[in-house]
Amino acid sequence: MTEIEKTTPDTPAAPTPAARGLIALPLAAARALLLAGGIATAASAFLAWTWTDEFPGDLTITGYPGGLQWLTFIAGALTALFALSSYGIRGLGWLLPAGNNAPLALTALGGFATTWFTVIAICTELGGVVNLEPGGWIAAIASLLPVLGALALPEQLGEDTKENLKAYVAKPDRIPAPKALAPWVERAIITIVTAIGLAVFTYGIDTEYGELFIGYLILIAFSLWALHTAGLMDRFSRIVAHNRSFTLAMGFVAAIAFPFTQTDDHYANIGVNILIFGTVALGLNIVVGLAGLLDLGYVAFLGVGAYTAALVSGSEFSRFSGVQFPFWASALTGAAASLLFGVLIGAPTLRLRGDYLAIVTLGFGEIFRIAVNNMDGDSGPDITNGPNGIPSIPDLSFFGFNLGESHDIGGFTLGRFANYYLLMVLIMAIVVLVYTRAADSRIGRSWIAIREDETAATAMGINGFRVKLVAFALGAALAGLAGTVSAHVTYSVVPTPYQFAGSTPPNSAFLLAAVVLGGMGTVAGPLLGAALLYLLPEKLNFLQDKSLLAFGIALVLLMRFRPEGIIANRRRQLEFHETGQLDVPEQATLTDEPAVTKAGA
């Protein structure tokens, strides 16, 4: 880490002396307030905030923080770190490469929001402020101090930022370019960030009650925002661009490591469901993000894969109960069946453009569900067992390794879902590989060309129909592949989940939302979107019956404020935001990698 420290200027850029903050305080006092407030906030986490352990997480013990108090501690510590860095202390300069105040304000706000959320939650759940111990009051006041300090800092006006509250949280126009780092340092940074990422993600999945999850989300949102305005995200993505395959490998190592951090198979179950959801969303990303075909019936392909795998799984309720394919064969059969289904649907419909295609795919998606509902021997041929579905699908087994049983590996116990999780990581690796390789090739370019301007693309010699059909069929096959695993994970397949919109993922609406929310045309975007869309209703019980409403609102807000999705494809970002259009990343000309990185990784 020593090298990083050297890369940053020793003295942070001096703020314009004339500017004053909203609150009239000398600069030194404002900074001191930030630092002291941050430390006080972190320290207050060690006090008892309430008198009873009825509030989840047990915040009653002095000297031993629990649940939400840890979040306050982390927020306070982060504020203090940034405050120290703003003093220009050697060794912390890398935290604030641009020397701006926005990260200070944002971490302070994060601590304030987390702490006050906790305090208010205690008051409302236990019935009144009387339930707060003095420690709770102290925490509330301590977390307010850094916010006051941040407001007292002078405003740093960019070239076109207006003089208002927004200026406090604006990202500076220019982040000083870092010095080149040794390759091993870059890799070390990626490794550390991956480890932190895994820890953060695991913490999120393991949260046991809704309040903790909300606090976690608040803290994550503010911290990431702070890191973004500090310019650290830009620097990190630059490092990632240098070490693309290493980052991908680290990502998979982290994904594989996840079940080993879990003691309860329930969380591995959440993990495997997120992976299935994310993998299918990534398949949809080929169709929607690259080729620009709006497919509203995509979940049907997952259903085709799942039903195919169930039929050849050897389940006694299957129409072909004597048939039991080995997994590789059933996975291929499922993918092939989906591919066939995709070609059958795509061949007549892909001649349509835009809205018409969306309507037709929506119809076909519903036809699939209704058809499997009716193929029970009474109202149709006896294939799918109708609404009862195909239950008791046997567990998979590789070379005597039964995925249905718990195994001890190196002192860690891997339960049933952890086994399937690892299998799903493998499937996801295949899908990510297919996605990145297809996107960066002749066929991927023709998909993007079709999305951009179909007439011009055909005039350039692209057979539009054929290229679109390839995208559609490839997306279908990948969903079918994920479906074969999901059939085994859930023990049974029934028609109900394969609908357009429902309260639990995956369904077509959620899949599309995951792609759009996460970021179209990126690899990490749909995975992040899927994780968010799965975890939110899972963790927040009160959301469960209103999740569609909540996501509708979330999508509308997202389209207003960040239309390119949480993780932006560089291309999309340039499309939606006028600023910085002429910036071309430097590394593009320095390496012989393809200039445009389609994968957000």
Binding site: R437, D440, R442, I443, A449, A459, G461, R571, L582, A595
Partner: protein, 279 residues
Amino acid sequence: MRFGGLTAVRSVDFTVNAGEIVGLIGPNGAGKTTFFNCLTGLYIPTEGTVSYKGTVLPPKPHLVTKAGIARTFQNIRLFANMTVLENVLVGRHTRTKEGLWSALLRGPGFKKAEKASEERAMELLEFIGLAHKRDHLARNLPYGEQRKLEIARALASDPGLLLLDEPTAGMNPQETRATEDLVFAIRDKGIAVLLIEHDMRFVFNLCDRVAVLVQGEKLVEGTSEVVQADERVIAAYLGEPFEGEPGEAEAAEVAAAEAGSTNAAAEERSTTSTKGESQ
């Protein structure tokens, strides 16, 4: 070519020989772009055929391009959110054939083909002078460079005949001159060029032959001298001279009614501008 009851282009027989630059001119709405769209398969002609090097082309845009006819568009149609290099690489589509499987397996053949495509694309970018902007998004290029890039993209399909739809529309005189040189350079590569243009100086400087299209029919075809001398061409642009003079009385009435000066001024303006065009 008919749209419902409207005949947009009627019995236009037209030949472009190898190594020629041919201009297609005509007043607005004469059917020039429709003629281009018929040639490139964007419209399916109601009657008639397009043949290239002796074979009749099917009316499918991608097959026409494959056969060796590439085009640009009147209103620029670049892939706005792709980089300059990628735009040209898309133009290479018909001359490469790596499908999905080879993209997924990434064998040596794939890498070789990608490398060759990129080299060829960079060659073309050098040719039009945009090599230094290879990683810019097409949408961020200035107007003139977008026009150039569209030509490079069309050239990437190694055409034998290049169709340019108003290549200098909206350009200043310097840019027009540069485009002139570019078209000559393309011709020198052995590519025949057929271009639609309204800038008459540009057309008559450049073209070996010029055809005039009026109301969907070919009026005259020949060298620039022949076309410029043709009475009907002037008539098509200016309108027929009035045979029966408007009644003196009527004219006087109009003049008296609305301070006739505005009328006269308008007329004068339109004459000068047309003169400029027909020089």
